[in-house]
Symmetry: C2
Subunit: 153 residues, 2 copies
DNA sequence: TATTGTTATACTCTATAACTATA
DNA sequence: TATAGTTATAGAGTATAACAATA
């Protein structure tokens, strides 16, 4: 007669831990960014654009891992508030060259401060060294397998 | 004149790391469980029920962090394949007492093996000690704040 | 009056398909 | 013929609202 398995706490599953870490962190950063009129997804867009030469919407979408059709509305919102400019790329007029404005850069700076503070609250229960290890472990797990091409998906 | 910020890799953001860790892990575990006819969300249900006394759908839903209306379809599927029984709780006939069958337990055992193997592939790039630290760090971050009630949300 | 399970509905998010303009 | 951006549509997933049975 096989021994019945002991009760498994759902919280033991790595999937549960990672999922709820994501939910918690998103809730924290969304709340921190809300006063600026953006959420954590929008912040990702700013992050991709800041300090870089103008790029096409599709390039930005690839860096974010979203579809190009999803990118349209994201840029729409930033363009409407004067944080991003869209203009046809002179070298290939099918493309939009999107670029952060001064206003967009100022928004990024405020957003970054709010985002970093929210990250800090999320990581507060951990020793700083452990927090660093956590970040590094996630980077390692997500890094492209060694010995193969580094192509983006 | 303020120094322009350097380009930020989106991959530096903790939110990016956690989100994509979740996506990667879910893809791995879903693929590993697919031959059994379940996905990682279904596996969570099995995990909650295994080795425990019969509980109401609402209790199970609370443990999983999903709505009670979402629970209905999850249990429907398991009941249809004879993995879970639903019967009115004699003490409170508003409730369904849901319980794993022998068949459900056998399914859980196979699913657990597949799930653990998928977790292992996810964590493969890490030293075993680092993998343990990662799990522990996530537990710590998600643990209820000390000195307060441990109520579920 | 409140609670459990259920159903129907709505909402969010994102991708797919189709169109346009360029190449 | 292929590609970038756009729009409309559809799908997955999950929550909210309303209802029946029970407490």
């Amino acid at each position: 007669m096989p021994t019945p398995p002991p009760p498994m706490e759902p919280h033991d599953a790595l999937g549960y831990l990672v999922k709820h870490a994501h939910l918690r962190l998103t809730a924290l950063t969304d709340a921190a960014l809300a006063p600026l009129g953006i959420d954590s997804k929008d912040f990702g867009v700013l992050r991709v654009l800041v300090g870089r030469a103008p790029m096409s919407q599709q390039e930005a979408a690839a860096k974010l891992g979203v579809d190009r059709t999803t990118m349209v509305a994201l840029i729409d919102a930033f363009e409407a508030r004067g944080a991003v400019t869209r203009r046809p790329d002179p070298n290939d007029r099918r493309r939009n060259a999107i670029e952060l404005t001064e206003r967009g850069l100022a928004l990024y700076r405020k957003a970054d401060a709010a985002y970093v503070a929210a990250e800090g609250r999320f990581l507060a229960p951990l020793d700083p060294a452990v927090a660093t290890q956590l970040r590094q472990a996630l980077r390692t797990v997500l890094a492209p397998p060694e010995g193969r091409d580094r192509d983006e998906r």
